[in-house]
Point group: C2
Chain length 244, copies 2
């Protein structure tokens, strides 16, 4: 049992399966997931987008995702998980779902950014995306976890992706669901370069955790967004509330 799967994981060409025909992509409306959607389409994968309302403060991302999916004529499925928010996420130690915890500002890799983690969010979203994939006959789910996430987000790390790959591959009748995570070993600025090549409409993407009218410019994701554009040499045309 183990050997085959472990072998599959350590062989890069195995995990980066090129035989994916259709995929459900977690589309948050940020730079990373939008680039993932553009990349998957560029590879000839038939894409479906999925998003979630879990009572996050930055619900504005959903409107961004819908507009991006519409631009590509990709179906967008919005899943209402507000019951999870009301049931317990509003009491979680997360700035994104607990109204009593402020969104932290500063560098995205700082220790205080850990409060932005929503408990097991990615597994919940991937599990529902996989159920949706099975229902509509898609053979993969994809999310845009990248190397820059590793400092703060446990559910973006390679070991988490590895476990999820095994579980998803075996969660249903053979051949199961493939986990598509082509960005897991690269940084956000590399994603920006890739997105620029693919003509991602950056102006439609939304990163800010505050979810106000414009990007705040100083929360972790805004700082990360700025840095990604800067490091990749791509002009950052985002209107920021606070120009740092």
């Amino acid at each position: 049992m183990g050997d085959r799967i472990i072998g599959a994981f350590t062989e890069q060409e195995e995990i980066d399966r090129t035989d994916i025909k259709s995929a459900v992509i977690l589309l948050s409306g940020g730079m990373d997931s939008t680039t993932l959607l553009y990349k998957a389409r560029d590879e000839g994968i038939h894409c479906h987008a999925i998003g979630f309302d879990y009572g996050q403060k930055h619900l504005k991302e959903v409107a961004a995702a819908q507009e991006i999916a519409g631009r590509l004529d990709v179906g967008y499925k919005l899943i209402n998980l507000t019951s999870l928010h009301d049931s317990f996420l509003m009491h979680a130690a997360s700035s994104q779902t607990n109204p009593d915890i402020d969104v932290p500002h500063g560098h995205y890799a700082d220790d205080n950014m850990k409060v932005t983690v929503v408990p097991n969010r990615n597994m919940i979203m991937l599990s529902i995306a996989a159920a949706y994939a099975i229902t509509i006959g898609a053979d993969a789910v994809g999310y845009a976890a990248h190397a820059g996430d590793h400092a703060v987000y446990p559910d973006c790390r390679p070991v988490f992706i590895w476990g999820m790959s095994i579980a998803l591959e075996h969660c249903h009748f053979s051949p199961g669901i493939t986990l598509y995570t082509p960005f897991r070993d690269i940084g956000k600025h590399d994603i920006a370069v890739k997105g620029q090549e693919l003509q991602v409409p950056w102006e439609l993407t939304w990163s800010c955790y505050e979810g106000s009218d414009v990007h705040c410019g100083s929360c972790g994701t805004c700082v990360e967004r700025k840095e990604a554009f800067h490091l990749s040499g791509i002009p950052d045309k985002t209107p920021y509330e606070l120009i740092l």
Copy 2:
């Protein structure tokens, strides 16, 4: 990375961690999950029960679970996932969520029982249970997957449990969430023996997929229930609609 985890999995004493202090138990209200709850409590684990309304035909199980949790004075959290049903599960190829597909009758290991599978149901439930566990400070989630499930349910097989164990252990900051599945290698009749020892109130448990007033006696789970009592020599006092 891999060695440690694979080692942990193959070493039985590692996966059956005895240092679980508190756990969120998936409690469907059937024989298996009820016995799991009784077993966990018997081992001194502080238990929280969780259940799900995903629009299943056998929603009656929720009332059974609530009564069982109440009997033990264990908190029961009901998660409303009817939005998933309305969004896509009602169109899935599952007799339990699609109103156009009849619940099959016959032996639980028959091939036609595969239509009772709800796409990726266990991963969805475990992922939400883990989020709840993180929120309340519990260190494990448990579900009653057993060897008899393997014939039909992909998301009860050891390889699925293995992948989920890895993902859950790493889904959050260390030490993550432990997956508690003590029944994965034993049959339902063994669970019945265990439950009898623990004085599980069988009369409160609900197995039937039809969800009518009394157990139908001929759907897969009713047949399995009967067989478990029969094989373990425990009197089956369940009122069945159809005595086969």
